[in-house]
């Protein structure tokens, strides 16, 4: 298996386990590349990539841009706050205008679920979903899987707890699909109000007690409370949320085994995770960021290789 089964990366749901393993093994090679003194390879020197960010982002945008530049692609950046979107231009018009400038690939983040799929049906370029609303964030799930594999040696049979705002999290959904395809057991943990209704159809364990979830898992992936997507109150106060679902050093040290702590960022220190846990030796948060570049290079490289 040396080629992806898909032309776009719209979500983890569309990928096969072989696709995911191919991306992870290619990413290993790229991780070696980005740790050289000359971190650049010429693979995509004839490719132009547009990064369209209709929603705020630091890590993902920088990570994609760095990945593209390290593959020698030409990069153009676009963010909705400083563009004609504000003047009422539609998504398809915006993208078609950008494609008229001869762009080969589009990396897009958008606040609406399904935006990437919609785009792939209407335009002729390879699309990479960099997060669409509360739907999917495939490259985050891939880099999380890569980081777990790197830390624990394998993913099959490992127990991963995803803890926090599951309802509004695209990271949670992509992670669930990805980890299950690779043979891991997944548990979600959070307040009842932050569990999506469809959760029972995903074949994951559901837990509302943080300590029980932590005792069960090998890896805890802590999610941020996405206040920007919450139009109503889902819990009485952030302080109460922190008391019930925040990960602190005291709970971490009282567990019977040393678990791995992950966080997709941005961290709200003192809310879902305390500083001493985020900066502890059990945390692989910064490794996740480093691996993000390698994984995105692998995705871009493999998609560019698809005729």
């Amino acid at each position: 298996m040396t080629k992806l089964s898909t032309k776009h990366l719209l979500g983890i749901k569309e990928l096969t386990a072989d696709d995911i393993n191919l991306i992870l093994s290619t990413a290993e090679s790229f991780k070696e590349v980005i740790n050289r003194s000359i971190k650049k390879v010429p693979s995509l020197r004839d490719i132009t990539i547009a990064n369209l960010f209709f929603e705020n982002s630091t890590r993902t945008k920088l990570s994609f841009e760095l990945a593209e530049k390290r593959l020698s692609a030409d990069v153009i950046n676009f963010s909705s706050s400083s563009s004609s979107v504000k003047k009422g231009e539609t998504l398809i018009d915006t993208v078609n205008n950008i494609l008229a400038m001869k762009v080969d690939m589009v990396v897009m983040r958008h606040p609406n679920p399904g935006a990437a799929v919609f785009l792939s049906n209407h335009i002729d370029a390879k699309i990479i979903n960099a997060g669409d609303g509360a739907h999917e964030h495939p490259t985050q799930a891939l880099l999380d899987a890569f980081s777990i594999k790197e830390k624990l040696g394998s993913i099959k049979g490992k127990k991963v707890a995803i803890i926090g705002d599951i309802l509004h999290s695209r990271v949670a959904l992509s992670n669930i699909f990805c980890l299950q395809k690779l043979g891991a057991e997944v548990m979600v943990c959070g307040p009842t109000t932050l569990m999506p209704k469809y959760i029972s159809s995903l074949n994951v364990k559901v837990e509302h007690n943080l300590r029980k979830a932590l005792e069960w898992c090998d890896v805890a992936n802590m999610l941020r409370i996405q206040l920007e997507r919450q139009d109503i109150k889902y819990f009485p106060s952030l302080r109460e949320y922190t008391m019930l679902f925040g990960l602190n050093k005291e709970i971490l040290d009282s567990l019977s085994k040393k678990i791995v702590v992950m966080h997709p960022g941005p961290i709200n220190r003192g809310v879902e995770i305390t500083s001493d846990v985020a900066d502890s030796s059990q945390s692989i948060i910064l490794e996740q960021v480093e691996n993000g570049v390698a994984v995105r290079m692998a995705v871009l490289f493999l998609l560019a290789g698809r005729a």
Binding site: E32, V33, K40, V41, S43, L71
Partner: protein, 178 residues
């Protein structure tokens, strides 16, 4: 057509030994020279030569690495390629580099290898060593300095190099696809 044996295991051994002595003629005790095998199949030859040289010279510190060229190829969009590991844990700046591959065919792999190598420094000079040179098939102006055996073959034929380590026996055969 029946596969034609180009090198059997005895000839294979003699050829590799001869290549080692040719290298020693030029590079003496390898204090300024490093060996780099191209992934995937050139690495077997590089390791074999490294082992033999270490025995002949009774020297344990001859440097040998492996280089993957997948990301430097000019044809990665038309071929299915899987990257392998690059392991070069030494500096090649100002060193003499012996680039090693099993078969020299179009020369494109070597072209990519020269590019890939530059990420590890600027070598003093670079030489090419190959086990088999298919001399009539070059697409780019690249020649080897040390050659195990020169063969005349056409594009529909395939040269298969087998290694004790991975295939059970050392052998080179010419296969015809007609």
């Amino acid at each position: 057509m029946k596969p034609k044996i180009i090198l059997d295991s005895k000839q294979f051994e003699i050829t590799v030994t001869r290549l080692c002595y040719q290298l020693i003629e030029v590079h003496n005790n390898f204090s300024d020279t490093v060996i780099i095998g191209l992934q995937p199949r050139g690495v077997y030859l590089a390791k074999r030569i490294h082992k033999k040289l270490s025995e002949i010279l009774n020297k344990k510190d001859i440097k040998c690495g492996s280089l993957d060229i997948t990301f430097y190829r000019d044809d990665f969009r038309t071929k299915e390629l899987i990257p392998n590991a690059t392991e070069i844990d030494f500096i090649i700046e100002n060193k003499k580099v012996v680039l090693v591959d099993d078969v020299l065919y179009t020369g494109r792999t070597i072209r990519a290898g020269l590019d890939a190598m530059l990420a590890f420094g600027r070598p003093y000079d670079v030489e090419l060593l190959v086990l088999i040179d298919r001399r009539l098939s070059r697409n780019v102006p690249i020649q080897a300095k040390y050659i195990g055996k020169i063969i005349d073959s056409i594009a529909s034929e395939n040269v298969k190099v087998e290694w004790k380590e991975s295939d059970g026996a050392d052998k080179v055969t010419l296969l015809s696809n007609d």
